[in-house]
């Protein structure tokens, strides 16, 4: 552990009563499977895709061994998988499923349907860059393509968070005032295949925290219902969409309360965002997911050198935690937003969301630097982030209409790419 690093990103309380075991080493994928198991899910429609596959393999084994009471069925595509997930939820089952990247996009149509059905399934996305060119390692263009789908979104930095956010995710999603599906995101490879210490809660304590799903209008023989009916008027359509939006906003408060209860039972309490060395920080970087750990390392290092650096981690992306972000960033000298995604022709996707949180604050930072990096799992080095902080400290040379985005790529990486291109062109 680095000096000055106060926690793994959560409040620790002594002696959480619901703890099953001491810490066990497990991958992010295994932690996700445990999340589903502890949540007592009834149904898991599945479809293989790297790097998510270990999750469904694990659950398939548990179900066949009778260690998990439910059914896993391997479908013919992610589109079918998500359709079955939504329809099973409308029938009253607690549903879990998982995918990555191309799979998420292949099923994207159904995400909008599932949220419109108000079917609170939980979907784990193991982030992976999108083709073309096809790759395996992570960035967040996949999960952010689902940003506007109506799914709640929770992004995990650690394997422990993966598990905890799944349990919290169900609790929030199934709340009668929310009734929206949720995505829990973890980075492929960096988290999916990395072993970390994970504390497993006791199943019966989880059951107290997360009682059986009680659907408001399930498909039934004695009381028939219709789901997904056509609405041919804009006012009805708008009404239902506004209701969904309101439910998503409501999820903030539901999450806060659920998290406090979770902390009481299991010793870990989560907020929508997490500050790291923020207290007197003048220069703050905003990050999410597994690379946040690298960000924290850099911040700690800079602190040792007397630089007032800090970090804000986004944990909940939908509903977007405007207030938390504004509270954490207002009054800072300069802020960098690290986007591990790219919207070609614009830049990072989260950057404008951070700006929107700050625009109406009187003491908003004068300089918010957009940074794009880590695409397709490109390594993020300490040096690169140090450079980002250096830019924050120098500020823009003048104050232009908009600051130039910083696209992270080291010279040696650039040279290596050029060499490969030369080889592909028959030179080299």
């Amino acid at each position: 552990m680095l000096q000055g690093m106060p926690s793994q990103g959560y409040y620790t309380r002594k002696g959480g009563e619901g703890v099953l075991s001491g810490s066990t080493l497990m991958t992010g994928n295994l932690a996700a499977a445990w999340g589903a198991r502890l949540a007592g899910v009834d149904y898991v429609p599945a479809y293989p895709i790297t790097p998510q596959t270990e999750i469904i393999e694990t659950i398939a084994k548990w179900v066949r061994l009778g260690q998990m009471k439910g059914k896993l069925v391997q479908m013919d595509s992610e589109h079918s998988m998500l359709t079955a997930a939504g329809s099973a939820s409308l029938s009253g089952a607690r549903v879990f499923t998982a995918t990555s990247s191309q799979g998420l996009l292949y099923g994207l149509e159904m995400l909008y349907n599932i949220s419109g059905w108000r079917a609170p399934i939980l979907l784990v996305n193991v982030s992976r860059g999108l083709a073309a060119p096809i790759t395996l390692e992570p960035d967040h263009n996949d999960v952010l393509a689902a940003r506007d789908s109506g799914f709640l979104q929770f992004h995990a930095e650690t394997c422990q968070e993966v598990l905890d956010l799944i349990l919290l995710g169900y609790r929030v999603a199934e709340d009668r005032s929310v009734l929206l599906p949720a995505i829990v995101n973890l980075d492929g490879f960096y988290l999916s295949f990395t072993r970390e210490k994970v504390e497993l809660p006791k199943m019966d304590t989880v059951s107290t925290f997360l009682p059986e799903y009680d659907p408001p209008a399930p498909l039934r023989a004695t009381k028939p219902v219709s789901h997904g009916a056509t609405v041919l008027s804009g006012n009805l359509y708008s009404y239902f969409r506004y209701r969904m939006h309101a439910a998503s906003l409501e999820a903030s408060e539901v999450f806060r309360k659920a998290s406090a209860e979770y902390g009481g039972l299991f010793g870990r309490e989560y907020e929508a965002t997490e500050g790291y060395m923020l207290q007197d920080a003048e220069y703050v970087i905003v990050m999410s997911n597994s690379f946040t750990t690298i960000g924290k390392q850099v911040v700690a290092k800079l602190r040792e050198r007397g630089v007032a650096a800090g970090l804000l981690k986004l944990r909940m992306l939908r509903p977007f935690p405007f207030d938390d972000v504004a509270k954490s960033l207002a009054g800072r000298r300069a802020v960098a937003v690290f986007d591990q995604n790219l919207s070609p022709g614009f830049g990072g996707i989260l950057y404008p969301e951070i700006l929107a949180s700050l625009y109406h604050k009187k003491n908003r930072p004068q300089f918010v630097l957009p940074v794009v990096g880590g695409l397709g799992g490109k390594q993020l080095t300490v040096q690169e982030l140090e450079r980002v902080f250096e830019s924050l400290r120098n500020g823009p040379p003048t104050f232009p209409d908009r600051p130039d985005p910083m696209y992270l790529m080291r010279e040696d990486e650039f040279d290596r790419a050029k060499r490969n291109i030369a080889i592909a062109s028959g030179g080299g």
Binding site: H79, S89, S91, G92, P224
Partner: protein, 323 residues
């Protein structure tokens, strides 16, 4: 006892009186698809979930008006069979876990048009059959994308004009591809029961649904669905048009029990296809301004060849046209 002896349905008088659909829906007058749904529902009773794929009948359930006394779930264009999988599995698990009583159980019925069945939803249908899902599948086949204005689908017969295969001087025949043989595509998956249907042969229709309902696993039905707006005929003629399709041999009524095919209606003498084609605007270009005898002959030959095979396989004599 043979199945014929066991059936509840012997004459038209045996069509069950209870109706699970209210009148005054929002579909076109004379819709053959709606007729098929009504008959289907009468056999299976009210305890079911319609899992619908995008199509004409999607607009039947038009919020806040629902003309059904059963459950309805609209999914998407491509994946209604996957939706059926989720419903069936969920009910099985919840009943097994004791979370809901067995009385709440429902029959699961996919409802799709031919665009969903032959084209965009074929993969998920194949998947559901492969997984031996215990469900019903009703395709109302109006032989084109009817809801979007009658564009060609892979169920459109050769020679038919559609909005995307208009007859022109360079391509005067309309659609020049042959229909996919969906019955045989399904049969290759070895489900316990497959049947073709037409509301114009209502007793045959009801008996087949009844027969399928006694089997576990995928039970698939393709019902001809006369389409006044797309085919171009008077809405009151739907039954007559569908009956002509059967009598000309264009729409064979048959079933496959555990893969074994049997025709349930064997016309002794086929009527000429021309009698059917000439009644519909989608074939008008075959008759006016000049008669395209080569296309009509091709359609007749296809029909003749089909029934020659049936004659041989089922050892019956059928009088063909022009031979």
């Amino acid at each position: 006892m043979t199945v014929e002896q066991q059936t509840r349905f012997r004459t038209l008088k045996d069509i069950p009186t209870p109706d699970y659909m209210s009148p005054g829906g929002s579909l076109c007058a004379g819709c053959g698809g709606l007729l098929a749904v009504r008959l289907f529902h009468k056999v299976l009773g009210p305890n079911l979930v319609w899992v619908n794929a995008a199509g004409c009948l999607t607009v039947m359930v038009n919020y806040p008006y629902v003309p059904l006394k059963s459950n309805w779930l609209y999914t998407a264009f491509a994946s209604a069979p996957a939706g059926a999988q989720g419903v069936r599995d969920a009910f099985d698990i919840l009943i097994q876990k004791g979370k809901i009583p067995a009385e709440e159980d429902v029959k699961v019925v996919v409802l799709t048009g031919d665009g969903g069945a032959y084209d965009i939803g074929l993969q998920s249908t194949s998947g559901a059959m492969y997984r031996n899902l215990d469900f019903y599948y009703l395709c109302y086949d109006n032989q084109a994308y009817g809801n979007t204005g009658f564009q060609v689908s892979s169920a459109t017969p050769i020679g038919s004009a559609t909005a995307t295969t208009p007859p022109t001087p360079s391509e005067p025949g309309g659609n020049m591809f042959k229909r996919k043989d969906l019955f045989e595509i399904w049969r290759a998956h070895k489900p316990p029961y497959i049947a073709t249907l037409s509301s114009s042969f209502a007793v045959d229709f009801l008996r087949k649904v009844e027969k399928g309902s006694k089997m576990k696993g995928p039970k698939l039905f393709i019902s001809l669905a006369g389409c006044p707006t797309g085919w171009g005929y008077d809405p009151r003629e739907t039954i007559r048009e569908e009956k002509l399709a059967v009598d000309t041999g264009i729409w064979p009524l048959k079933e496959a029990v555990n893969g074994e095919v049997k025709h349930t209606y064997l016309p002794r003498a086929l009527k000429p296809v021309e009698e059917y084609l000439s009644t519909q605007a989608r074939y008008e270009h075959l008759f006016r301004p000049t008669k395209r005898t080569e296309v009509i002959r091709m359609i007749q030959n296809d029909v003749n060849n089909y029934w020659k095979m049936v004659s041989k396989d089922e050892n019956v004599e059928i009088r063909l046209v022009g031979e």
